[in-house]
Symmetry: C2
Subunit: 362 residues, 2 copies
DNA sequence: TTGAAAGCGCTAACAT
DNA sequence: ATGTTAGCGCTTTCAA
């Protein structure tokens, strides 16, 4: 093992070497305007020679600002968060902030606990798909600025996707393909998005004179989707809207294994457009969320809050969702063995045009 | 917006309320043995009533220990790291450490830069698949304990998977299926694993009297794998070993799109056994790394180092890899259109038994 | 066993 | 524009 270096130079070492007071060194770095240009230059040079790097912890003590933010996600293992994390990281980095990533492991209790530890070290918190109660979140928000994602909590700024619009698109799409009954595969009960999607489905089907059914809740995973297959076969419909892509994928696999063909026998639509959605066979039709943009927006808003900004509105920031039509949806068939009624081949590009790119909701 | 809480209580508030000196409060928390049991109890009670939580930053200043470690990964977007991250988080959490996740975005420069920022705030660093040079890594290791993953760096402790053994298993598997020429699809040149795998492939093919070819390097992504398809069709072999699953998946998709059937025309083996590997069609045969265990082992070793442990050996910790046989590999056919020579149907379970579960290498 | 006091490295008044 | 001097909240000798 290489030996640890002696000790990194402090602000005092630099001050001594440069022949100035430590406060001047401090200013030279934090408030360059408040110091003579030449002196500042000299100090920088000396500091560089000594290899001086300000200790962010020591800086945090008097200022109370750590330049760290906490990003809490429900499950690191869920690919849904990959792009969100990257978007958030990018926004944090560009503002000179460091991100503390916390995995709540789908447990509100663990989330609380982890937050408890991180709370004092961060300037703000992004809760991506929190499993905590609204009141617990509000409690946290009293101590540090908080932005929640995929959820609306009174008095807490949030960033969400336009679920109603996304569901509406999906329903229209399925309706055009001749499906008149749509089953919703529910996700975690603690999930705000789940409630929103189910409500949106009821509204959309009602308006379009279709019927909505509900199965679940299931785990928001491939296994959860597979578990739903049995239930679906007991209460079959020709179209399914799953809480997320993972469940949709699990459902399709279990269905296929049981001899039910997708999309010939049942059309399946997912949510999120995760990485694997276009890799599976059939590729998944899904309501895409702008994952990267959401992570970015959440962090940017959070940083604005830490700088003292007050939200101009109680309304969540709504980012547009988009229907991505792939192979898991197709025309409804009267029965499993007969050929398709009407046009068999669905023109992908034409349907893609039905895609929504709009925002704005309550 | 809810208003921020006034200010969290300090150690002095607790001391005053409990009628003891602040140093006693400090001891009561950090060194319970060094204080009268009753006093300690009393202090705890008072602290709890006040809602006192020690400020980790203030604590870090005099002690020099932050209870934070840094985990640097090459690409947050790459599902390969999901389980590693979770394993690392779990190990850190159980030891009372907080994890700082950093995304290097496949760039050695960005990695250096991010590390520069985090260096002073952490007690140690895990470099998962670093893209930095050996000397840069050694530089970092001079300042803080470092453990590298998937890589061997002189004088720096490391955790790796048994690549030679994994490659050997894959080659044996392909050999048994009748393939005698295997193409390796190379990944990033800065990747240690890439070099190791290619070397292992040469050795294994040599011993088994087969032939190894090499194509690339390509990006270690689905797009990279797709790009390799054209090259492969110019220099065709009946079997391919890809640098990772992402590339393998990309290759299969591009091949399939071009009318080349997998595994009928070409068998493909990947590396890593990422989440999507069993979701794609055909499901991917791949050399599985114990991702979770690796993350855990890396962090545990790192924490041992921070506690002053000195590595007992220069050799990397080697974790076993395993061949997972799925649908992307099959018997070699003499030509594309003729029926298989010999048994057509490959018995999945029988092949699964060929799976390796052993460790140990140099 | 407990208290008093001196820092850890940096910032932020307050002086000059 | 720069220097002086308190702290930030906690730990850690050193005394008592």
């Amino acid at each position: 093992m290489a030996e640890r270096a002696a000790k990194s130079p402090t602000i005092y070492d630099v001050a001594r070497a440069a022949g100035v007071a430590s406060s001047t060194v401090s200013r030279a770095f934090a408030r360059p305007g408040r110091v003579n240009a030449e002196t500042a230059e000299h100090i920088r040079k000396v500091a560089a020679e000594l290899g001086y790097r300000a200790n962010p912890l020591a800086r945090a003590l008097p200022t109370g600002r750590t330049s760290m933010i906490s990003l809490v996600i429900a499950d690191v293992t869920n690919p849904f968060y990959n792009e969100i994390v990257r978007g958030a990281q990018a926004a944090a980095l560009e503002a000179g902030y460091t991100t503390l990533l916390t995995d709540a492991q789908e447990s509100g209790a663990r989330e609380r606990e982890a937050l408890e530890r991180a709370l004092t070290m961060v300037d703000g918190i992004v809760l991506a798909t929190s499993r905590m109660s609204d009141s617990a979140i509000r409690m946290i928000a009293k101590q540090r600025p908080v932005v929640v994602m995929n959820r609306a909590v009174t008095d807490v700024p949030s960033v969400v996707t336009d679920n109603p619009r996304g569901v509406r698109r999906a329903v229209e799409h399925l309706g055009e393909l001749g499906h008149d009954r749509i089953t919703y595969l529910a996700g975690p009960e603690a999930s705000w998005a789940d409630g929103t999607r189910w409500r949106a489905l009821r509204e959309a089907t009602h308006e379009l004179e279709l019927h909505a059914h509900r199965l679940g809740p299931y785990e928001p995973t491939v296994a959860g989707g597979a578990a739903a297959a049995a239930d679906l076969m007991r209460h079959p419909t020709s179209a399914v809207l799953a809480y997320n892509d993972l469940m949709a994928i699990g459902l399709i696999r279990a269905l296929t294994a049981a001899g039910v063909r997708v999309p010939d026998d049942v059309s399946v639509v997912g949510f999120d457009n995760i990485f694997a959605a276009e890799l599976v066979t059939p590729a998944l039709t899904t309501v895409a969320a702008p994952l990267h943009a959401m992570g970015q927006a959440a962090v940017r808003n959070l940083l604005a809050l830490t700088r003292g900004a007050r939200p101009t509105t109680q309304a969540p920031v709504v980012l547009p969702s988009q229907l991505v039509v792939r192979g898991s949806t197709g025309h409804r068939r009267r029965n499993r063995t007969s050929p398709a009624s009407g046009t068999t081949k669905v023109s992908g590009p034409a349907l893609m045009a039905a895609t929504s790119t709009v925002a704005g909701s309550r």
